[in-house]
């Protein structure tokens, strides 16, 4: 029943979100990375192309997805309370959870669509296309000799001079192309940031956008960049660690311009699976806390708003 009810909310809210005003705003947000890249291309020697990868991480999962989520998820409860529809939600069995999950799915879907469209738009229409949709790291990657990054297979090689012998073939893990890394990052950030903003929208339902913007700038923007243990509680910390691994970049390769993040504490020491698990746990904690608050709080519609 909860699934059916949540899907009903999803269908209703998604359709509602496709009205003219929000769609125009959404398209502007989607076009933003492409416009920025085109301006960089026009500027010529403004920013080295090699840094486009880092820039795209900032503009697509960072700006396109986050702005989409900010507009759809943060005010999810406020919209019900100020629209005077909360009483109808509250008197439905599991209505509070359904409205939260339904709107969460809308936020994730809109964010993923926005991210994918932004990726699809930025590569063909900018100079990034010339790089065959792949971006080298900010400086050349050192040949990796670490055994953990290689997989080994033994095979028989025949040589006329020395006869047949067994040789070890070394297969280096191939980094993902930038577009694919961005696609993965878009999916992850859509799920994670939607759950985070769901919690923030539940905690402070009267001025959700203000709290969400302050929190994102302060915690996800500043605290996540601190080389301290506290950054492990931010989503950004895991996302950038995953991105680094997907792209096959190494910390020691980072140029002086990015030296401020040249610290092992800036990135997760887990494997990619460990990071994914951490993000899943964070997501579940955010959603569970939001749902618990929602079910146990009393909301006085029309009296306090």
């Amino acid at each position: 029943m909860l699934i059916r009810s949540s899907l009903a909310v999803f269908r209703y809210e998604f359709k509602k979100s496709l009205s003219l005003g929000p769609t125009i705003l959404w398209i502007c947000v989607i076009a933003f990375p492409t416009v920025l890249q085109l301006l960089i291309d026009q500027a010529g020697n403004g920013i080295p192309t090699e840094f486009s990868g880092v820039l795209l991480v900032g503009t697509i999962p960072g700006a396109v997805c986050l702005l989409t989520i900010l507009s759809s998820m943060a005010p999810y409860l406020n919209a019900e309370l100020e629209g005077n529809t909360w009483p109808y939600v509250a008197v439905r069995p599991q209505g509070k959870t359904s409205i939260m999950l339904g709107k969460y799915l809308v936020s994730v879907t809109r964010s993923i669509i926005a991210g994918f469209l932004a990726i699809a738009l930025v590569f063909p229409s900018t100079s990034l296309n010339e790089l065959n949709r792949d971006i080298p790291p900010p400086i050349t990657v050192r040949p990796t000799t670490d055994a953990s990054s290689k997989s080994t297979t033994w095979s028989e090689v025949t040589n006329d001079d020395i006869g047949t012998e067994q040789v070890m073939k070394i297969k280096k893990n191939k980094p993902y192309p930038l577009w694919l890394s961005l696609v993965i990052l878009v999916i992850l950030s859509s799920f994670c940031y939607s759950s985070l903003l769901c919690l923030l929208g539940t905690i402070m339902h009267k001025r959700p956008m203000i709290l969400a913007i302050i929190y994102v700038l302060l915690v996800e923007g500043v605290i996540s960049l601190l080389p301290a243990v506290v950054n492990a509680s931010t989503i950004n910390f895991y996302l950038r660690s995953i991105f680094l691994r997907l792209m096959g970049w190494e910390l020691t390769d980072l140029p002086n311009a990015l030296s401020f993040i040249n610290d092992p504490n800036m990135f997760s020491q887990f494997s990619t699976m460990g990071d994914l698990l951490s993000l899943a746990v964070l997501c579940l904690i955010f959603l569970f806390t939001a749902n618990t608050l929602l079910r146990n709080r009393e909301y006085h519609v029309g009296e306090t708003l």
Partner: protein
């Protein structure tokens, strides 16, 4: 429902910080149609919100259909609720809006659409109107939409908060008919209103609330008796006011008389207005007295509430 009764309220108190929403209320209602009457701010909406599980009681207990409503998913499916607040979220059609809330009760989309159509038929929102955006609706049409979402799943009890508000006379008549049919089908109904005549056509019994307290309850006749029997002020203008005052003070039901400075105005407080009005012509004839003007307090519920509150405080 028959065994458990429709509603049991025991020593219910609801506090909003230091403000009292509902004050030590106890009542037990068997299945039937009830009007919850009281002026604005009397605690009707708070009480309905507690009954529908939106708010939690501070002290005391509420049971609807024998179950506590707070965080009780099972009982919510058996009740229908219509809020007094106007719908401000308007980017969808009335049909989609009613369908959503029906689906949220666990019905499949197709079934929910059919149920929404039936409910909208019942409240008289036409086929063309229901596929228009809610932002184009009049207040009465929104009100019909709100009632439709409450009745779509055919609940056992219908709780309506000010359902007649904003309705034109025709819509009011149609809603009254619909609710009368609802009651005749043997379902429970609780309507809040601050106007007695709005709900007296539908409900057989009433609860009177003011400042969070249950002041009185009873049938419509008992309420009218109450309205007649509470002490009432009558203002009389007569050229022989002082002489009239002397005669009137002899009557048992006259609790007080005040003579105006102009010696023509007279304020009479009577505890039995009905007897006063019956006896007054005879007294005037017998004493050869004349009056030019007479005004009594209006018989509205507000004045009854005021008097009941004064009685409650021991001021009368």
């Amino acid at each position: 429902m028959e065994g458990a009764g429709m509603l049991q309220i025991e020593n219910l108190t609801k506090l909003y910080g230091v403000v009292i929403g509902v004050n030590d209320m106890s009542v037990e209602l068997p299945s039937g149609a009830y009007g919850l009457l009281g002026p604005n701010g009397s605690g009707k909406t708070t009480l309905l919100n507690i009954i529908t599980g939106q708010l939690k009681s501070t002290v005391g207990e509420v049971r609807i259909l024998g179950e506590r409503p707070w965080k009780n998913e099972a009982v919510l499916k058996r009740i229908g609720f219509c809020s007094a607040l106007d719908i401000l979220q308007t980017k969808t059609t009335g049909l989609e809006w009613v369908t959503l809330y029906t689906e949220m009760l666990g019905f499949r989309h197709k079934i929910a659409v059919d149920m929404a159509h039936k409910a909208l038929d019942r409240v008289g929102l036409s086929g063309t109107d229901r596929i228009r955006g809610i932002d184009q609706y009049s207040r009465g049409m929104k009100q019909r939409c709100k009632v439709a979402q409450a009745i779509a799943h055919e609940p056992e009890i219908l709780l309506l908060d000010e359902p007649f508000s904003g309705l034109d006379p025709i819509a009011r008549y149609e809603l009254t008919n619909m609710l009368t049919e609802w009651v005749q089908e043997g379902r429970g109904l609780l309507i809040s209103s601050h106007i007695l005549h709005e709900v007296e056509a539908v409900c057989e019994s009433f609860l009177l609330m003011m400042t969070g307290r249950l002041l009185a309850s009873g049938t419509v006749n008992e309420i009218y008796d109450l309205m007649t029997n509470v002490p009432k002020n009558v203002w009389i203008r007569s050229p022989q006011a002082s002489k009239l005052a002397v005669v009137l003070q002899e009557l048992d039901h006259v609790a007080g008389i005040g003579l105006h400075e102009d010696q023509e105005g007279l304020d009479v407080i009577t505890t039995d207005a009905s007897s006063f009005y019956t006896q007054l012509p005879g007294i005037l004839r017998a004493e050869s007295l004349r009056i030019h003007e007479m005004q009594s307090e209006d018989d509205s519920l507000d004045s009854v509430f005021e008097k009941l509150m004064q009685l409650h405080r021991g001021e009368l």
